[in-house]
Amino acid sequence: MTTVHHRDAGQLRVDTNECKGCGLCIEACPPKVIRLEESLNPYGYRTATYMGAGCTGCGICFLVCPEPGAITVLRARRPGPAAASGPQVRP
Amino acid sequence: MPKQLMKGNEAIVKSAILAGCRGFYGYPITPASEITEAAAAWMPQVGGVFLQAESEVAAINMLYGAASAGVRCMTASSGPGISLMQEGISYMAGAELPCVIADITRGGPGLGNIASEQSDYHQVVKGGGHGNYRTLVLAPHSVQEMADLTALSFELADRYRNPVVLLADGFIGQMMEPVEFPQSATEPCLPRWAVAGTAESRGNAITSMHLDTDKLESHVRQLEAKYFIAEQREVRAEDWHTEGAEIVLVGYGIVARILKGVAAEARAAGLPVGVLRPITLYPFPALHFQRLAPRARVFLVVEMSNGQMLEDVRLALNGARPVEFLNRMGGNAPTHHEVLEAVRELARRHLPALPAEEEWIVHV
């Protein structure tokens, strides 16, 4: 099944050109849905990757990530007041 | 009475403001403190910034900031303070930032004393900081020139995007003479490369760093090209009765004033003596020396240092003529009498046919 994650509040994208595989996002992620790739990127790093399900869209991985563009956090837009609520962690 | 009696140090500040200078950052030091004091009095009145820094190191780095923000700016100091500023001067030359630094020299090394010397020549003219750079250096010899060359310094600093040093001794800084100023003020303008905290200037960056070896080399070559242009265009010197001079006296700043007095007396007695006064110490007026060499029999360099400009004179003449040297140090100025004696001695040794001595030896 490929549609399970659509029930999730969020998801994340990792730019494999930018990620240096430091693992801080993995440590920081509350639902623990990030892991390191087994393969290396062109610069020799095992980059972070989203496991594909369970992201809450909290944005903590983004906050702790040292690379400006390595992580993008997406949040599901659903009808109703919930759609207007911002990130759970506000800098 | 169009002229006013004014101290050289005060004339610098008024001329700077007329030239569009709107930032003064300095640290007090004798004999340059009047410049800082005058800036404190006048700069705020014209909407400029005056700030007394915690050190000369901070002051020159404040100039780095003000120049980065596109403001014509200046500082003033003396030997020990100029030594501390060398770091920032190197950074400014590297980052191609314009500024004007007035160095009202005093005695050294170390704490030395507060009397006038010309012993900052090496650290200013040769660049006391690290790296391949030059500063343009102007040497006034009167209060009027303190004003005129300050204005020129700001023009040159902007034209070459480089620090310019106004190198004056304590005498010129402290003395009062009649001075006349232009009656119109230059509009401060914003250079296109400045970082001014605006949308238009957001893309600009000021840095002296070029990590790549080829890029740094190319940057330094570009600086060299700039200095080469300055060497072609900006050389200034005063030829004072040098036409036909067989003994050429060489000095800058207060020394040149003394030399003119001596030369006038010697000339009145029929001796072919002239004065060559470098006004730009960098670029050095080497061609002026070479032009005089065929006619001159000897050059006498007079300095209040251990022979720092002497080296440049020798390089300029490259052995074409003998170069003699007379100096005083420690804050002493060579006296009229001392120089006249030296001229007499040179005349004896180098001039074939002398007028009878009694005709030209003047009582002093």
């Binding site: 400006p68 | 403001i17 001014a196």
Partner: protein, 488 residues
């Protein structure tokens, strides 16, 4: 097919707009920063960029990059950038901010930069209350240069320059934020850490606050951020993060050390500068403000006078020299006035050289004066031998010291101080002596002297006294000359 509801996705967190999309100032790998994996700088950069975005100040922002690992910050931030010398960012930032008060200036510094070589610059910028935002990244080590000891290195922590671990001989960890919090001016100082999610979230709030304070014109704000350096610490990024929380925080407690943001006043809007055309007048050099003609009509007098004036500091020798020079200028002569200066002005002897001439003056130094005005004995001893044959010594005393009696020189020795005291104030002795001198320089127009004195002596009571003193001096000299003539 699936019965899932339609879901659209919006970007909740992404690279802030205040970063460049590609880092074109970098020589290579322009898609990523130069920072090591797990470096705190990247995290702090993001907080800062996010705060710039959120406050809508990208165009106004000027970032001062330091020396240290963040020396290349200007590769990344799409704002106005100035890269500074090691430790000098607060000085550079000070002048940028004062030059362009509308800008938002951030000094970004590491611990070596800010707390060692730049300790003076940060202290004074804070003490002046410069309206800056300082981001102080403390990782307890010199990282860029390969792991040498910093002022913030912990006790016992090894570094390449404290291989046995930092001991008391190397000094103790410097608590910069606490030091700065003793100053009056700063409005906001907080220490935060990057030790865990919670700390990082708090750090982001502090950074934003420090920036917002500047936007609101409140004054000096500094955020110290305890930051991991996995590479030099020889830890994994996660270990390094925990070390910040578990070890560093023990030495550097987190918290707000200063918060005067409630009581701080916004900076006043600077007044607009005066019109350019008004500048010469403001500087007092507008020709319209000066007398158009010398007060003395006619050609300049035929006068060539070289004078040395000397006395104790406070006796007013510099002033009478100035009066003489001003009068000469007023009379259309070339003049110069050269003082001794420095400590001599405050104690000991003071002297000046004055020249008046029809022709351009070559040297302002008077080696052989026509007139020596000596207001005390040390001065006459020092300068009497210089006086030109046929010249004058004016001496403040009953008689010239015997060994100073130069045979080819005229002497007027009088107790000028007592004479002045009889006139009303002993301090006018200098003017009595100037009067005597002016009698020698007889062809200097009186109008020029009065005009010079009026410009230099503003107090009417003193002006009246000085005029009387001048007249008294002239009279003394006339009488002395008459006596001499009579005697011969």
């Amino acid at each position: 097919m699936s019965s899932e509801p339609e879901v659209s996705w919006e970007i909740a967190r992404s690279k802030p707009a205040s970063f460049y999309s590609t880092y074109e100032r970098k020589d290579e790998l322009q898609h990523a920063t130069h920072y090591c994996p797990g470096c705190g700088h990247g995290i702090i950069h993001k907080m800062l960029a996010q705060a710039i975005d959120d406050l809508g100040i990208q165009d106004r922002t000027v970032l001062i990059s330091p020396v240290g690992c963040s020396v290349f910050a200007y590769y990344y931030f799409d704002v106005g950038n100035v890269q500074a010398a090691h430790g000098r960012a607060p000085a550079v930032a000070t002048a940028v901010k004062r030059s362009r008060p509308g800008s938002v200036v951030i000094a970004y510094q590491g611990d070596g930069d800010l707390s060692a070589i730049g300790s003076a610059e940060i202290l004074h910028a804070a003490n002046r209350g410069e309206a800056l935002t300082v981001i102080f990244v403390n990782n307890a080590i010199y990282s860029m240069t390969g792991g040498q000891m910093a002022p913030t290195t912990l006790m016992g922590q090894t570094s390449t320059t404290s291989p046995q671990g930092r001991g008391a001989h190397e000094g103790y960890p410097l608590h910069v934020s606490e030091l700065l919090a003793t100053l009056e001016a700063p409005v906001y100082i907080e220490r935060v850490g990057l030790g865990d999610n919670k700390q990082i979230a708090q750090a982001a709030r502090a950074v934003r606050r420090a920036l917002d304070n500047q936007v609101r014109g409140l004054g000096f704000s500094l955020v110290e951020i305890l930051s991991p350096c996995p590479t030099i610490w020889k830890m994994t990024p996660v270990e390094a993060q925990h070390w910040v929380r578990d070890v560093m925080e023990g030495t550097f407690p987190l918290g707000v050390l200063r918060d005067r943001t409630q009581s701080a006043q916004s900076d006043a809007v600077p007044a607009p500068p005066p019109l350019l055309s008004a500048v010469p007048r403001i500087l007092g050099i507008a020709k319209t403000g000066l007398p158009a003609e010398p007060s003395a009509v006619g050609a300049a007098p035929d006068l060539n006078l070289q004078v040395r004036m000397a006395g104790f500091g406070g006796q007013g020798v510099l002033l009478i020299g100035e009066v003489l020079a001003e009068a000469g200028l007023d009379a259309g002569l070339e003049v110069s006035w050269l003082p001794s200066y420095g400590p001599e002005m405050r104690s000991g002897t003071s002297n000046c050289h004055v020249r008046l001439a029809r022709e351009l003056i070559d040297s302002p130094l008077v080696a052989h004066p026509d007139v020596l005005v000596a207001m005390n004995e040390p001065s006459v001893r020092k300068f009497c031998a210089m006086v030109r044959a046929g010249g004058w010594i004016l001496y403040n005393g009953e008689t010239l010291p015997e060994d100073c009696d130069w045979k080819d020189v005229h002497v007027l020795a009088r107790p000028f101080t007592r004479i002045a005291k009889d006139l009303g104030d002993a301090r006018a002795a200098n003017m009595v002596m100037l009067g005597a001198l002016l009698e020698i320089a007889g062809n200097l127009p009186r109008t020029s002297i009065e005009s010079a004195l009026g410009r230099l002596v503003r107090n009417p009571r003193w002006l009246a006294l000085d005029e009387a003193a001048l007249a008294s001096g002239r009279k003394l000299m006339r009488e002395a000359c008459a006596e001499a003539n009579h005697a011969s």
